[in-house]
Amino acid sequence: MTFSFGNRKQRDILLQAVFLAVILTMLLIAVMTTRRNLEIQGLSVGWSFLNYATGSSIVFSLIDYDLDSSFARALLVGFINTLFLGTISVSLAVLLGTVIGTARLSSHKLVKSIAGVYVQIFRNIPLILQAFFWYAIFVNFPSPRQAIAVQGGFFISNRGIFFPMFNIEAWYLLAAIALFIIGSVISVTVARRTGRGSSLVGILISLALACIIGYAGRLADTPLFDMPQPKGLRFLGGGTMTPELGSAIVAIALFGASYVAEIVRAGFLSIPAGLIEAAHALGLGNWHIFWRIRLPLMIRRILPTMTNQIIWLMKATTIGIAIGFPDYFGVVANSINHSGQTISLIFLLIIGFWAINMTISFTMNAINRALALPGHKK
C-alpha cells in the first residue's frame, strides 16, 4: 500500500511517529548535554554520597537523627516530616474548610459574612507571607520560664507548645490510632450500607483493640501520661510542637481551609435544587436534610476537586523551608548545598513527591469508587 497524506489512518500514524521522534530527540540532547557539562566540570552523578555523614543538624525529627547520620537518613527525616506536616495540616484544612464552606451558605447573615471575609482574606495573601506572619506570632509567645500554663499539663512558649503524651512507643501509638480510625470508618460505612446493626458496636470494638495495642507498647515502669515539666530553658518530657511545625500547620490549614471552603460551597450549590425541594416536600427538617441529603451528596460531588486540592496543599508544605521547618524540600535543598549532588538530589525530590501524589490519588480514587453511585452519571 502506498502512503498517502490524505488518508486519515496513515496520516495519523505518521504524525504520531514524528511526535515521538521529536520528544525522544529532545530528551536525548538533554541527557548528552548534561553528561558533557558534568564531565567538563569534573563532577560525577552518583549515589555514594547518600552514605556520608551530613554534619548538619535537623531541628525537627520524628526518628533518630544526629550529626553523624547519613544523607539518606536526613532525607528520610525530611520525607517523614513532610508527610507528618501534610497529614495534620491538610486534615485540619479539610475540616475547617467544610465548616466555613457550610457557614458561607448559612441563613444567618453575620455568620455568612464572617465566613466570607475569612475566605477572602486567606485566599488572597500568598501562603509564604502567611507563614511568615504565623511564625512571628509563634515566636512571640513568652519564653519557657514564663510559659503560659494551660489546665491539663499544656504549656505555651516561644519554644513551642508542650503537651502531655502517652508513655507508649511511637509505632504502637501510631498503629493504635490508625486502627481506631480505620475501624470506625469501616463500621460506620458498613452500618450505613447494609442498614443493619449499629455503628457504635464497631467503633467500640476498634477502640478496645486500639487500647490493647497501646497497652502492648507501653513503656515499662512509667505512668500512662508523660507530663511536660519546666526545667531551665525548656521542658522535659511530654510532646512538643515546635514553633516551626506549629506555624506551618496553622498557615497551611488556614490557607487551605479558604480553598476547601470554596469547594465545599460550590459542592453544596451544585446539588440540584429539586432534591432539596423533594426533601422539604416529604416534610424533612433542615437538620435531617443537611445530614442525610446535602452533606452526603456534597461529599460525592467534591471528591475529584478535593483530590486535586489535597495534592496541592501537600505540595504547599514546601514553604516550610521559609520558616525553618525541615520538610523534604528543605532537607533536599540543604543536602544539595552540603553535598553538591544537585542532579541526584533533585531526582530524589521528584520521586518523593510523585510517590506522595500517587498515594493520595490512589486513596482518593478508591474512596471515590467506594462512594460512587451505581448507574449515576455525572
Binding site: P272, L275, E277, L282, L284, G285, L373, G375, H376
Partner: protein
C-alpha cells in the same frame, strides 16, 4: 388534622418573584377525593400554584387552607402540612445516594418516627403497588426514567398523604415510558386519592379528572369538567392551546 369539607381552599392567591407577579389572584377549591388536572402554556404559573400548596414557595397575598389549616409562617404548621401532602416532580428528584428502598423509608422513619422494619414493610407494599418491588435494592441511577418516576410516587405514598400533587410527572420521560407512569397514576386515582396534577397528557385528563383547570398568565382562565373543556372550550386562549397541543 382537622377535618374539613374542603381538602384545598385557595383564595385570592398572589405570588411575586421580586417585582414580577406570577400569580394574579387565583381562587381554587378541591374537595376530598377530587382529581384536578391543571394545564396551560409554559410560564403560566401552574408549577408555582401547586408549589404554593405545600409551601415550597411562599405567597405574598391571599390565603391557602390545606386540610383545614391555613398556611402561615409557623414552621410546625408547614411541616405538619407537608406530611399530609405528597408531591411528585417532573424530574423525579429521587435521592441518588440512597437505594430505592432507602428513599422510601427515609421520611417515614425521620418524620413519622416509624421504626425501620415497619417502614420497610410498608415501603415494599407501595413498591409493589407501583410494580417495581424487584428494584428495591438498586440505586435510582440504575433505573429508567419511568421506573424512577414510579419510585417517586411510591416514596410520596409512603408518607400516607391525604393529597397528592403532581408537577408534569411524565414530561421528562421517553414516549414509551409515559404509559407505565400514567397507569400507576390512574390506579391511584381510582383508589380515591385527592389529586392535583399539572400535565399535558390529555388522555389522562379525560379519563380521570373531575375538573380541568386552564391557566394563562397567572390566572385561572377556565375551570370545567373534562368533557366540556375538551369539546367545548369557552375561551380563545384555551381553544388556541388545545389546538396546538392536540394539533397534527
Amino acid at each position: 388534622m382537622t377535618t374539613s369539607a374542603l381538602a384545598i381552599e385557595v383564595d385570592g392567591l398572589c405570588k411575586y418573584y421580586g417585582a414580577h407577579q406570577v400569580l394574579h389572584g387565583v381562587n381554587l377549591t378541591v374537595k376530598p377525593g377530587e382529581k384536578i388536572v391543571v394545564c396551560g402554556p409554559s410560564g403560566s404559573g401552574k408549577s408555582t400554584l401547586i408549589r404554593c400548596l405545600n409551601k415550597l414557595e411562599e405567597h405574598q397575598q391571599g390565603r391557602i387552607r390545606v386540610l383545614g389549616t391555613e398556611l402561615n409562617d409557623e414552621i410546625d404548621n408547614i411541616n405538619e402540612i407537608r406530611r399530609e401532602v405528597g408531591m411528585v416532580f417532573q424530574h423525579f428528584n429521587l435521592f441518588p445516594h440512597l437505594t430505592v428502598l432507602e428513599n422510601c423509608v427515609l421520611a417515614p422513619m425521620l418524620v413519622r418516627k416509624i421504626d425501620r422494619k415497619t417502614a420497610e414493610e410498608q415501603a415494599m407494599t407501595y413498591l409493589e403497588r407501583v410494580k417495581i418491588p424487584q428494584k428495591a435494592k438498586n440505586y435510582p441511577g440504575e433505573l429508567s426514567g419511568g421506573q424512577q418516576q414510579r419510585v417517586a410516587i411510591a416514596r410520596a405514598l409512603c408518607m400516607k398523604p391525604e393529597i397528592m400533587l403532581f408537577d408534569e410527572p411524565t414530561s421528562a420521560l421517553d414516549p414509551e415510558m409515559i404509559s407505565e407512569v400514567l397507569d400507576v397514576m390512574i390506579q391511584l386515582a381510582q383508589g380515591g386519592m385527592t389529586m392535583v396534577c399539572v400535565t399535558h397528557e390529555m388522555g389522562f385528563a379525560r379519563k380521570v379528572a373531575d375538573r380541568v383547570i386552564f391557566m394563562d398568565q397567572g390566572k385561572i382562565v377556565e375551570d370545567a369538567p373534562p368533557a366540556d373543556f375538551f369539546d367545548n372550550p369557552q375561551h380563545e386562549r384555551s381553544k388556541l392551546f388545545l389546538s396546538q397541543i392536540l394539533g397534527h
